[in-house]
């Protein structure tokens, strides 16, 4: 545990606190207590599954160094995983915040919806109320209507009753009056005074009215009725026969028409056969003709004289089929006719079109001739005056254009200067970098370099790896078997660390540095670099690229693979991560710094070069694909784009292409002006 403390405290130190650290470190062990401390350390390390650093009660320096190195590695891994988890945490936090925001939005939404719902409900209630009132109204109206109609009915019946009573009264009065009058009449005898009676209009004598005559009259009436009926029947019969006759005639005419068509068709068929034309037509026509023959079968004349209800179906059927056939024929003919007509029309139209085109062409020629002739003949004042307005317009445009060009040139100058500066800076940077790399390379290769040989006295890496893996396995076993106090946590932490390291490998660590900070001139920031305290820190590839604003794709991949290999290489991650979790309060900037330092050993120049090549190719493509685009735009894009730090050659190329463009434009302008002139 103390060991862990030490390790973490190790990284808590800042540059200013160096002395304190030294003091603290020295306070742990002194020359006297060295063997005790060593024992203690050995014990502690064995707890964590490291081999003993003491051999025969003596300090095994190599083992100590190995163990220390491994611890450091583990610690770094732990830190990495810690930062990863922190990143994950931050991510999840931000996610949570986002979700919170979304939730609040959704809540608001729900609230508004609720409000809307309420308003709708209120509206609905209103409407319902209205409906209800209307319904009530309707009901009342209906009731009223019913009441009124019933009232009317009752009044009607009442009225009828009253009327009946009145008419009865009238009748009684009339009879009484009649009797009275008759009595009077008898007194006065007849009310008719006539000089002499007339003869009947027919000259016959009047007959006595006897029962016989009465009967005769009745008989006559019935005879008349009968006669009337007979007459009406005859009328109907006449009508009927006329109808039947007409029906028959219609059928005959139909048959006649159909037969005519059929014969025509037959003629056509014969012709077509003679010419051995398409068989399909014949087939179709044959089918049609068969139908026709069926249709043209006339119903026998006698059929029309039969009782209609018997022959009704037959007649209707046959007539229907005939009509259908006729209609089909008619339609067919119509279509044929139409198509022919259409053809004729189309031909006419095309002819007309060609005619008109000719006319237009002639007109065009004439216009050209005249305009050209004028230009040739008289370049004098009037024609000039004619184009005066256009000319002035052109001049204006030209002046605007020249202004723009001037502006462009100025801009170009500025940019070229800036670029030159940039290029110089870059060159410097490159030189420095190469220098640094050289230096670093010399330091980094402990197995080959002469300086490393001094430190690594027994270079058997394979053995060490083996032992590491073994110890890792043992550690695992220990965890499962012994149930060490932090084991559960460890296991969880391990799982977490594994998960985060595996899962969030794509997540980019935040970078607080600006690109110029990465410049090697201000490099020594981490005094506790375990590799080399004095040497300047080497920026990682990704950092560099990011700082330069370049895309970091290929190197990212490489980084992934490298990290995975790294994972395999340094086994006891879980321990350090556990420690990390315990301490857990390393600031983000520190971790970032640490991480940027950690990536150093994987940096290789190759990627950078290839990437540069890629960028160059891309910019070349761009320049080719957009030669006509606005120059300022391209410049801006050059400035704004991620490829700010592209190589100088590329810049040169761009400049060249740009100047080419401007040249072309100038030429175009010149040609334009000359043309307008």
């Amino acid at each position: 545990m103390k060991n862990g403390e030490i390790f973490t405290s190790h990284f808590r130190f800042r540059e200013s606190a160096e002395a304190g650290v030294v003091k603290r470190i020295s306070s742990f062990c002194s020359a006297e207590s060295l063997p005790h401390r060593l024992d203690f350390l050995d014990q502690e390390l064995s707890v964590y599954g490291y081999p003993s650093i003491q051999t025969d009660e003596k300090l095994n320096q190599v083992a100590l160094v190995n163990v220390t190195y491994d611890l450091l590695q583990t610690y770094r891994r732990a830190l990495e995983s810690h930062s990863d988890t922190a990143d994950g945490l931050r991510n999840s936090e931000s996610d949570a915040a986002r979700f919170q925001h979304l939730l609040s939005l959704a809540r608001e939404d729900v609230a508004t919806k609720d409000r809307e719902l309420k308003t709708k409900r209120i509206e609905e209630a209103h409407l319902n109320q209205r409906i209800e009132t209307l319904r009530k109204k309707l009901k009342s109206e209906q009731e009223k209507c019913r009441r009124l109609s019933s009232e009317m009915q009752s009044r009607d019946t009442q009225f009828k009753h009253e009327k009946k009573k009145k008419s009865q009264e009238v009748e009684r009065m009339q009879t009484k009056l009649h009797q009275l009058l008759q009595d009077k009449k008898h007194e006065r005898l007849l009310g008719i005074e006539i000089l002499n009676s007339l003869q009947r209009s027919d000259g016959k004598r009047g007959k006595w009215t006897t029962d016989k005559t009465k009967k005769n009259n009745e008989q006559e009436m019935y005879q008349l009725i009968l006669a009337n009926y007979e007459d009406s029947q005859k009328e109907l019969l006449n009508e009927n026969t006329a109808m039947r006759k007409y029906l028959k005639q219609m059928q005959d005419e139909l048959v006649c028409a159909l037969n005519e068509k059929a014969t025509q068709r037959d003629m056509k068929q014969r012709e077509s056969r003679r010419l051995s034309l398409d068989k399909i037509d014949i087939k179709s026509s044959a089918s049609v003709s068969s139908e026709e023959s069926e249709a043209s079968d006339s119903v026998l004349d006698g059929m029309f004289e039969m009782p209609y209800d018997i022959v009704k179906d037959d007649i209707e059927k046959s007539l229907k089929s005939k009509w259908r056939a006729l209609r089909r024929l008619y339609q067919h003919k119509n279509l044929h006719h139409l198509t022919e007509e259409d053809k004729g029309k189309a031909e006419n139209k095309s002819e007309k079109i060609t005619e008109y085109e000719k006319v237009i062409q002639e007109q065009q020629d004439l216009i050209d001739y005249f305009t050209a002739g004028q230009g040739e003949k008289s370049s004098s004042f009037p024609s000039d005056a004619y184009f005066l307005e256009e000319k002035s317009d052109l001049d204006q445009q030209k002046s605007i254009f020249y202004q723009q060009r001037l502006a462009f040139e100025n801009e170009r100058k500025v940019y070229t200067e800036a670029l030159l500066q940039l290029g110089q800076d870059q060159q410097n940077f490159e030189e420095e970098k190469s220098r640094w790399l050289q230096h670093h390379f010399l330091q980094l290769t402990p197995f080959r370099g002469s300086s490393s040989k001094k430190k690594w006295s027994s270079p058997n890496k394979s053995f060490r790896d083996k032992s590491l893996s073994l110890s890792w396995n043992e550690g695992l076993k220990n965890h499962s078997a012994h149930d060490v106090s932090p084991s559960l946590r460890n296991a969880r932490g391990q799982a977490d660390g594994m998960g985060t390291s595996g899962g969030s490998s794509g997540a980019q660590p935040l970078l607080t540095r600006s690109p110029n900070k990465t410049s090697p001139s201000r490099s020594p920031e981490t005094p506790h670099n375990p590799w080399n305290g004095a040497s300047p820190p080497i920026p990682s590839t990704c950092e560099l690229y990011r700082a330069l604003g370049l895309r970091y794709k290929s190197s990212d991949k490489e980084n992934n693979s490298s990290t995975s290999s790294f994972n395999l290489a340094c086994t006891p991650v879980q321990v350090t991560s556990c420690i990390d979790a315990k301490h857990g309060n390393t600031s983000m900037s520190e971790t970032n710094l640490q991480r940027s330092n950690e990536r150093i050993p994987r940096l290789s120049d190759r990627y950078y070069v290839t990437y540069r090549d890629e960028a160059l190719a891309r910019s070349l493509e761009e320049a080719e694909s957009s030669p006509a685009s606005d120059t300022t735009d391209t410049w801006h894009s050059l400035l704004d784009s991620d490829t700010f730090s592209v190589s100088k050659s590329e810049l040169d190329y761009r400049q060249r292409s740009l100047s080419d463009q401007i040249l072309v434009e100038n030429r175009l302008d010149d040609s334009h002006t000359s043309h307008s002139d």
């Binding site: 007849l190 000089l195 009465k214 006559e220 009725i225």
Partner: protein, 450 residues
């Protein structure tokens, strides 16, 4: 076109005799018979009182003059001016008098429709027909004059009785399915009787002579119903004008409505020709020309103009408070050749609708400047004469329409007109004068006559 001079008359009592030889006019109590051709006075009778109705017997030999106030009728013989006959209904009163179709019997209706008395001029016999509903619409003779159909009300039930005219024998009596029968009419061929109910109930029934009901037609309920019914001359159509401003045409076989002619004040149909009378007031004559100016000062010029739809016919909405609303088809008549039906809606008194019976659609609308007083079909052809109470006579035929100014006097306003049976002349009547208008014979007609 010629016009006779003006003669005095009173209360439109002027009539051509059925044979077309005479024309009778009444001036108060004087009855003057003139020859149509010469207009000479042939006979002059003096009645006991102012004549209230005058009627020719079917053989044109007798004239029946009714004096309702006095309750008496007088019959005059054209051939024997000395022959007299007086019929006194006595204290029963007289409301209506008419000839029987044989011209030997007079039917008088006592007041309160108490009875119809049949007076025989042959043997002075008297017959009474009782329980009559009313004597105007409820009494109908067949065209051959052999039978009489009479609507009666016996024990508050509507009945129709058929009489044999010669012997006045009741042949048949049958009840009708009506609430309050208000009219009946024989079909011109005498086969069926059309019976219609009171206007409160739209109901129309067709009966045969022996009392079989052939059909009951009901167009609608509740609203005011039948206003007037007319048979076509061939008995093939029955036109029913009703208060809903529609004419419904029933056919004679199925007795179903084959068409409805609506009288709408707004004419949209483009098929119908609309003649519109346009009046132009004459400008005041200049002082120099007053002597020369021939047209009368007070007369207006008028002519027909074609109007293109839509046309708004002026219509008067009846007062709902008053009974017998002036709406609905109150006059309708078929042309004698059965081709046209002329109708006048009482709310649009200025317009005559002429419907084509062949196409069952509106054919012509005559839009007059003032309300139409009288319209009559030519008894032989489809020619319609009408008057609107001004000094003009209007004639319509399928070939066109004319307005003729009566040239005799500017103050002669035609209120009524009657066709001569031969359709050669027209009897025009103002309120107190009459004249005869002789129409020119068409060449074709002359040929036919020859």
């Amino acid at each position: 076109m010629n016009f006779s001079e003006l003669f005095k008359q009173s209360q439109f009592h002027c009539k051509f005799s059925p044979d077309g030889q005479y024309v009778v006019t009444c001036v108060s109590y004087k009855v003057i018979v003139r020859s149509v051709d010469t207009l000479q006075i042939l006979r002059l009778y003096t009645c006991l009182d102012a004549v209230q109705n005058i009627e020719w017997s079917s053989d044109s030999a007798f004239l029946l003059c009714a004096m309702y106030k006095r309750g008496i009728c007088q019959v005059w013989s054209v051939e024997h001016p000395d022959w007299t006959c007086k019929i006194d209904e006595g204290s029963a009163g007289l409301t209506h008098a008419q000839w029987s179709p044989d011209g030997r019997h007079v039917l008088t209706t006592a007041s309160f429709n108490l009875r119809i008395t049949v007076w025989s001029l042959v043997n002075k016999s008297i017959s009474y027909i009782r329980y009559v509903k009313n004597s105007k619409d409820c009494l109908s003779f067949t065209d051959n004059g052999k039978y009489l159909a009479l609507a009666e009300s016996r024990k508050c039930r509507d009945c129709v009785s058929i009489f044999e005219v010669e012997s006045w024998q009741l042949l048949k009596l049958f009840e009708t399915d009506t609430e309050d029968l208000s009219g009946l009419k024989w079909s011109p061929d005498g086969r069926v009787i059309c019976v219609w109910d009171h206007c409160l109930w739209y109901k129309l029934l067709i009966y045969t002579m022996d009392g079989r009901c052939l059909t009951t037609y009901k167009a609608y309920d509740w609203a005011l119903g039948v206003k007037r019914v007319t048979w076509s001359p061939t008995s093939q159509f029955l036109a029913v004008g009703s208060y809903d401003q529609k004419v419904r045409i029933l056919n004679h076989i199925t007795w179903k409505s084959i068409s409805e002619f609506s009288h709408i004040s707004n004419i949209q149909s483009t098929n119908a020709v609309v003649y519109s009378e346009s009046e132009t007031k004459p400008s005041l004559p200049r002082t120099e020309n007053t002597l020369i100016a021939s047209p009368p000062i007070f007369s207006t010029q008028s002519k027909y103009e074609f109007l293109s739809p839509p046309i708004q016919i002026p219509s008067v909405q009846p007062d709902p408070e008053k009974p017998n609303p002036k709406i609905g088809v109150g006059w309708l008549e078929f042309s004698p050749d059965n081709k046209f039906l002329a109708t006048i809606d009482d709310s649009m008194k200025t317009a005559v609708h002429i419907w084509s019976m062949l196409k069952l659609s509106l054919y012509v609308v005559l839009l007059q400047a003032s309300p139409i007083k009288c319209a009559r079909w030519d008894p032989h052809t489809s020619r319609l004469a009408l008057c609107t109470g001004n000094d003009k006579l209007y004639l319509w035929s399928p070939s066109g329409s004319v307005s003729v100014q009566v040239p005799i006097s500017a103050t002669f306003h035609v209120h009524s007109l009657k066709w001569h049976p031969s359709a050669e002349s027209l009897l025009l009547m103002s309120k107190d004068q009459m004249c005869i208008c002789y129409l020119e014979k068409k060449e074709r007609d002359k040929e036919i006559d020859n």
